[in-house]
Symmetry: C2
Subunit: 203 residues, 2 copies
Amino acid sequence: MKLYDTARAPNPRRVRIFLAEKGLEVPTEQIDLNKAEQKSEAFRAVNPLQQTPVLVLDDGTALAESVAICRYFEELKPEPRLFGETMLARALVEMWNRRIEQHLFSPVLLAFRHAHPAMREREKPQIAELAETSKAKAADFLHYLDGELAGHVFIAGDSFSIADITALVAVDFLKLARIDMPADVPHLSDWHARVVARPSIGA
Amino acid sequence: MKLYDTARAPNPRRVRIFLAEKGLEVPTEQIDLNKAEQKSEAFRAVNPLQQTPVLVLDDGTALAESVAICRYFEELKPEPRLFGETMLARALVEMWNRRIEQHLFSPVLLAFRHAHPAMREREKPQIAELAETSKAKAADFLHYLDGELAGHVFIAGDSFSIADITALVAVDFLKLARIDMPADVPHLSDWHARVVARPSIGA
């Protein structure tokens, strides 16, 4: 198999951290979005939607979407469980991963894409008002998440899961999106310190 | 258990169709978004993020997010499989469900929320430019999807799955979002006719 990866891009980083948590290594090929390599004929044959990451399986199947790739690896190597141990845990991991995507990861990326000068050529049109409302949504959610983390050690409960990976990648992207981490989020700060201490996070 | 549902809203409809496909019935309580019932103290105690659907389990756990609820029912009653039969099928269903969400379901909802007069009070600010770019994205994706459906009977392959439910709900919402179904999408039209013929679709 081969993983089409983009260094420094948030979605591929979710897969890299997931693989590191599983102790898996997969050959990779870099697709540089700043050089528009996702638009090449060769890569469009792999993913017509021109996004990374993509995992190409040995039978040639091209599997796109970060969470689809992670789920595939969860079945290939179940331990450690990153989508939940029990039926209820799996449902709660799905819920939290999606809440983080919808209310944090997506707004942070939208704030970056619609306001950062480096995205002027790639995001047309940049909509300044969308960047502003996205920043406000992300900040609101960080406060909500802080309250939730008063009650559990990790995002979806007491075990580390893919929801923590999604949240960590989003939080680490706040700076590029020019969103300030709120000062008054002690539980979120403790969670962040716990998660960045994991060796996988360097991936 | 009890399902907090909203008649006519697209996300709760995904769960209603999913349950009908499984042959399951669950007691429901309606939350009327037009009457701002999602903002009541009682409902905020169920879901602080003020969204439907929510499934409350017998132990009191509140499970939000349509796909998390569907996954819970998939484990509770595995047949018919709506998240894929095999490891590879499950990964492809996840990929397609997310592609449909990202490139069709979300843009269609954004076009509705940011342009429809009925949403003026609930979506502040409405961003006209976002509605326009969302309409264009949805239309582009419908053409791409038409090409893909030349090669398979259902969205994620040859079996009906949750990806078809997500796509059907999005397509049925095009009219409210004031997006025209393209005229030149014969495979998509055939798929739509196949899917709306299922008894579950009335749910």
